[in-house]
Symmetry: D2
Subunit: 141 residues, 4 copies
DNA sequence: TTTT
DNA sequence: TTTT
């Protein structure tokens, strides 16, 4: 039974152009590193900076958006799940943590395209379509 | 073009049983008030408590889950969008803010059903299905 | 006892310059409307757009940042709490929902100032300062 | 300059009792694994389940709460930052991803203590204290 | 009232 | 109107 929530919310900048992989049946995958930089004051009152690098992966439609619009330095909002994977390298088992994005927003762009936001798999119900024949004076509470 | 994020994340308890409305074509709507209570210390160091009441609405599948499993007092996690609506009452225009949930988790329950978590409209891609024929040594970064 | 979470996460654009109020003891308050615009496809496959307007309020340090750096049109990330207030107007009780921000990020700006992100009241512990004398080989799990 | 957001939001269950470490000056650290389980339907319509295990660390006050109240199986809400660390083991550099929590909620508990929610370092300003002498009819927008 |  |  599911009682879980596994959510990452990130705003940061791409360290490199996305790397694109194409699989069977037109399935596309985009991978890139995302730097999230936070500032804080230390005990001496100095402004400090801390950057984390996240491994981002995007699939299918989001990967296509990434391929078209994201470049090194792009500032994005990404919402997704934290995934832990293992793989073999040099006969050793290695572990990697990735953020599998399901929402992507390109931030701060002044471009004229219509694709700076995208969310997976919510075609018609987002926002929820109004129900048929709700009476005008039907208050919801 | 969308560059927006509109997200509410709530954990609280229902003040009443959900109210259910049925519309055409089997569309169901659930409405209820949700209390989120936070504690904090005031300037005198006293433990204080602050409760907010939120108007929650759920549609379709989530409304069915609410009807079946949520009751007065139930503790839930809800993720959704903040919506502002207006309506007429007594010849006056009134405004109401609602949270339209798209994810619902029933918390703390020890029941054995399989419905304590539910998310709208992400049938096959959540989590993203693995691509066909990804080679084993294909590292993603 | 608190078992609650009351969180709003917004990315949008200011509809107007922030309105600033100054209170006793140097307490400052900033208020503005924030538009969050989402796009989605309707049942006919057309690209649709939905904008919500949120009433944002910021206090103290965040209000100062807002006064200095936010203008009509600015794109910001805001994290905060949903607050419902009532007030009297024309002898009628009115209700208003506001988002009281505790984190503010100015997005998409290429300016060279050091104030585009700010979080309330987490002076030294964010990120948590490393503990004293943690041994180098001290693995955390 | 900070333009970043690095946030994890998790609801899950502890795989083991928290492990507690005590450092100089009374600094305490709690570590545990947290399982977040999600369900989804696969392409054949079968109910599937996916569990991720997260390495959680909590410092100071949150570590004390964890030590007192969290046990194997406890259901918790954790909000925090994603941190990537490296360390040496067997002469090899290893990487680990941890969630450093700054908010902790014990969920679903029916116990009578007053400590099921806790947030770091926001002593007096959360929620923001009302400003002094705000006039009663002072509308915020 | 914003933005694209 | 909830919960502890």
């Amino acid at each position: 039974m599911a009682r879980g929530v596994n959510k990452a919310i990130l705003i940061g900048n791409l360290g490199r152009d996305p790397e694109i992989q194409n699989f069977d049946k037109g399935v596309k995958k985009a991978s890139f590193s995302l730097a999230t930089t936070e500032t804080y004051r230390n005990r001496e009152g100095q402004e400090m900076e801390q950057t984390e690098w996240h491994n981002i992966i995007l699939w299918r439609g989001l990967a296509e958006i990434a391929e078209k619009f994201l470049r090194k330095g792009s500032q994005v909002y990404i919402e997704g799940r934290i995934r832990n994977r293992s793989y073999e390298k040099d006969g050793q088992k290695r572990y990697i943590t990735e953020i599998e994005g399901d929402t992507l927003n390109l931030l701060g762009s002044r471009q004229s395209n219509d694709s700076s936001s995208y969310q997976e798999n919510q075609p018609s119900a987002q926002p929820a379509p109004p129900p048929v024949q709700e009476p005008e004076d039907d208050l919801p509470f």
